[in-house]
Symmetry: C2
Subunit: 140 residues, 2 copies
């Protein structure tokens, strides 16, 4: 499953290392977005030597290579996830809980924007913020 990732890197002159593999594995298993620190902690259970600097370097490297996606989920920080999920996030800005939004719901919208603005929209980065039903109740 991640064999193609390895090949992809090698063809471009990069290497697959235990650290890179471990990060990919953790994110595959998680199946959802994780913050750099969460990733670091989980990887350290497998590779005790892993440092934060390497996590940050590896995350942006893998994102450049197209193996990961970065997304905003509030608080001003980035989270990362495996590519290919084709979904978006709807985050509660009070409690932080999140929902996934199907990509198909947005496809038409993108096309509209792309035509009217000329931008090539990278749909994977899209995040909506709002108040979840629970927090709406507590708000009153």
């Amino acid at each position: 499953m991640m064999d193609t990732d390895i090949e992809q890197l090698r063809q471009r002159g990069f290497r697959m290392t235990p650290q890179r593999l471990a990060i990919l594995r953790v994110l595959h298993q998680a199946g959802c977005h994780l913050s750099p620190l969460e990733i670091c902690h989980q990887v350290q259970e497998i590779l005790p030597g892993m440092t934060e600097a390497t996590v940050y370097r590896t995350l942006s490297f893998l994102t450049e290579q197209g193996l990961l996606l970065a997304a905003h989920i509030g608080g001003g920080q980035l989270v990362y996830e495996i590519t290919g999920h084709d979904h978006h996030h709807l985050i509660c800005r009070r409690c932080g809980s999140s929902q996934q939004i199907e990509h198909t719901l947005l496809r038409t919208l993108y096309q509209q924007f792309q035509e009217s603005t000329g931008y090539q929209i990278d749909g994977m980065h899209v995040t909506f913020f709002g108040l979840c039903p629970e927090c709406q109740k507590n708000n009153k």
Copy 2:
């Protein structure tokens, strides 16, 4: 124009201070989103004593009070703008240039999401990322 803001705060037991007024004024004049540091520098021309800590505190206070809106424009940081503009951002993730998106284009979409998810979507926080026409050319 900002008189209503002042009244709004007073009624809730808060005060209108020179610092808060200066930040509101700067953002009104700018008419666009600014980063905390940009705001701090501009305010310091009027109030030389203004500190970064106060800027951050004031920005989140005014945002809580609904007088300002925070938005992501990439790089993981937040920018702020005066409420009531009713527009959204489309940011080029390569060169950082930005376009505004009319709110009406998104209204239908919000309603759909709100019904299907139960979230009360705060449309003002929405930002799209993509590649602007210029950077698409340079990319090839």
